[in-house]
């Protein structure tokens, strides 16, 4: 049976391949997203002191270390059974918002904007960030500046843009200084301008991508995100909630102690990435999505003025949940706007310069779970320790794992729409990749990979003979 293989998928964080299975008539029968390399952090941390986990686990990825640092520290807070000082919590929130800004800016401007600006059918030699730099330098400058803003906040607070320290079990290691606060505040206005400009531009582009809106993982599914009583956007504190495509609450008030009753994890024979599913419905029916789209579907308000205006407009896309994963891009921009606004509010809080930023304690629990909304979606760190405080087992449930079933389903949907017959065309194949890119998967977090990314597409006949191959 003919198979098209895209290996590896480009412009995502990490390495993966896609296989598209054709039937005898050349119609798409099945499509799969495979993560091809293993990471293994859950195993290598066994036997290490739990206090080392934030620094160690953050090394899983160079794009998302801040998210892992936060989730891991929250799990350690749980082991120590401490309530961290209010100032520390606010500072951690700022760090998380900065991470959302820099990561979303990376996804939108660096990874996906070539598709929007240069077109899905453009020559792949041009359809990349360097093509954007040459043809749309103002947009490229904005993207770099916005990401730089998020990174600079992380560096200001954590000492480094990549793999910062500072966030520790019990809080943060040292307080924020007034000059640091003022420096960040001084950049807020420009960051908002860039984001509003990108939002305005993107909304004007949507009509040119109707086919992609229709076919990019556009189907009913459950959504999972952090929730709170106020039904506001929540990325740091709250419980987990599942909703369905009609915005009905399916499961609520899920905490670290019972997440495993609702979230199942399944291993796959053809991928190192696990698939998670809503346990009460089983693997076959329990597909759900996390990340920006899920979070905006989940909340009734963002909680900030400008983001709320954008959220109201976003909600007009559909009567109930917004279902097309193409709108992940749109949701990312709204989340950036929210993050900047919320950060400004937190920085103006008189408590933000407070000196009490860390609680100290020995282990008081043998188990701890930290849950956070990372840029790409819900992130869970779960540790068990022995009586000496050494890690006995660790489990990390990563956004890309949550989305794995939906990514696979989306690849199949877009392949059926755009892959016709045995001829390989770059534009067609880029759309198959682009549906994966819409989820902004981070494969380094969910497993890992090294090396240079390229594209290798193989068209195989029913008997395994290679009929055609494209590489870039």
């Amino acid at each position: 049976m003919p198979t098209i293989t895209i290996d590896p998928v480009t412009r995502i964080e990490g390495h993966a391949k896609i296989t598209v299975q054709l039937d005898e008539r050349g119609e798409v029968q099945d499509a799969r997203f495979h993560v091809t390399q293993v990471r293994g952090f859950e195993k290598l941390c066994e036997g290490r002191p739990f206090t080392e986990m934030p620094a160690l686990m953050a090394r899983i990825c160079g794009i998302c270390p801040t998210s892992h640092l936060l989730a891991s520290s929250k799990a350690c807070d749980d082991i120590m059974a401490v309530r961290i000082p209010e100032t520390a919590e606010k500072l951690r929130r700022i760090m998380n918002l900065a991470q959302i800004i820099q990561s979303h800016a990376l996804s939108f401007f660096y990874l996906s904007s070539p598709d929007f600006l240069l077109g899905m059918d453009a020559d792949p030699e041009e359809r990349n960030i360097m093509g954007v730099v040459r043809k749309y330098p103002a947009m490229a400058r904005d993207g770099i500046k916005l990401r730089q803003f998020g990174q600079r906040v992380i560096e200001t607070l954590g000492g480094k843009r990549v793999h910062p320290g500072w966030i520790v079990p019990g809080g943060v290691s040292h307080p924020l200084q007034a000059d640091q606060r003022d420096q960040i505040l001084g950049e807020i206005h420009e960051a908002i301008r860039i984001t509003r400009s990108a939002l305005h531009w993107f909304k004007g582009q949507i009509e040119f991508f109707r086919a992609e809106v229709r076919s990019f993982a556009n189907f009913p599914s459950l959504f999972l995100a952090m929730a709170n009583d106020a039904h506001e956007f929540s990325a740091y504190k709250g419980w987990l909630r599942f909703i369905d495509a009609n915005l009905n609450v399916v499961a609520d008030h899920i905490t670290g102690t019972d997440y495993q009753n609702y979230i199942g994890e399944s291993c796959n024979d053809d991928s190192y990435l696990k698939s998670t599913y809503f346990k009460p419905l089983g693997l076959a029916n329990g597909m759900y999505r996390v990340g920006p789209l899920a979070r905006l579907n989940m909340c009734q308000s963002a909680g900030t003025v400008q983001a709320d205006e954008e959220l109201a407009e976003f909600r007009e896309l559909e009567r109930h949940s917004v279902l097309s994963s193409f709108y992940y891009h749109y949701a990312r921009l709204i989340e950036i706007l929210f993050s900047i606004e919320r950060m400004e509010t937190l920085l103006h809080d008189p408590e933000i310069l407070g000196k009490n930023v860390r609680a100290h304690a020995a282990p008081n629990n043998f188990e701890g779970v930290g849950i956070l909304e990372a840029p790409r979606g819900t992130l869970i760190h779960h540790y068990r320790i022995d009586q000496n405080g050494l890690i006995e087992s660790a489990n990390m449930v990563i956004a890309t794992g949550h989305n794995n079933l939906a990514i696979n389903h989306g690849v199949l949907q877009v392949a059926r729409q755009f892959v016709k017959g045995n001829a390989l065309e770059q534009g067609m194949l880029n759309r198959v990749e682009a549906v994966v890119r819409a989820f902004d998967p981070c494969l380094s977090c969910s497993t890992h990979a090294v090396g240079a990314m390229a594209l290798d597409i193989q068209l195989l006949a029913a008997d395994g003979e290679m009929l055609d191959r494209l590489r870039r």
Binding site: L111, N128, A140, I144
Partner: protein, 143 residues
């Protein structure tokens, strides 16, 4: 020495790959007027700072060449077909970004020291140490 930016990059946990950051540590006291930037990798966000300086020196380690030797290379902006700038860009591409996005690229040189050991370890090999000494001897003459 107005407008001199010295960027040392590499992984300090990978033996001689630390040459760039270690050279910066040593030169900071000698070249007080220069701006120093130590990082794991070059990223697009550095382009704006490059456009604002007159002379940029990139200090890197290499696994090719005779271990212990140092090479100085004049750089010019170079376009790239790289499809992603998320993790790493080369110095010449960074110069091109500075020129294209911010209107100017500085005079720039790449100083590479050939190392002998790049496995997961802290500290330099004997050859790495030799290259570091040579880099720190050369750079004050270049600025």
């Amino acid at each position: 020495m107005a407008g001199v930016l010295i960027i040392g990059y590499g992984n300090t946990l990978r033996g001689d790959d630390a040459l760039g950051p270690l050279a910066l540590e040593r030169l900071r006291t000698q070249l007080g007027d220069a701006e120093f930037l130590s990082c794991h990798q070059l990223t697009p966000e550095l382009a704006e700072r490059l456009a604002a300086c007159d002379l940029a020196l990139f200090v890197d380690a290499t696994s090719s060449g005779e271990p212990g030797t140092v090479e100085v290379q004049l750089l010019s902006p170079e376009t790239s077909e790289a499809d992603s700038l998320t993790h790493h860009v080369g110095p010449a591409v960074l110069l091109d970004l500075a020129r294209t996005l911010y209107g100017r690229a500085p005079l720039a040189m790449l100083i590479t020291g050939a190392g002998a050991r790049f496995e997961s370890t802290e500290g330099l090999s004997q050859e790495g140490q030799q290259a570091l000494d040579e880099i720190c001897r050369l750079i004050p003459m270049l600025v």
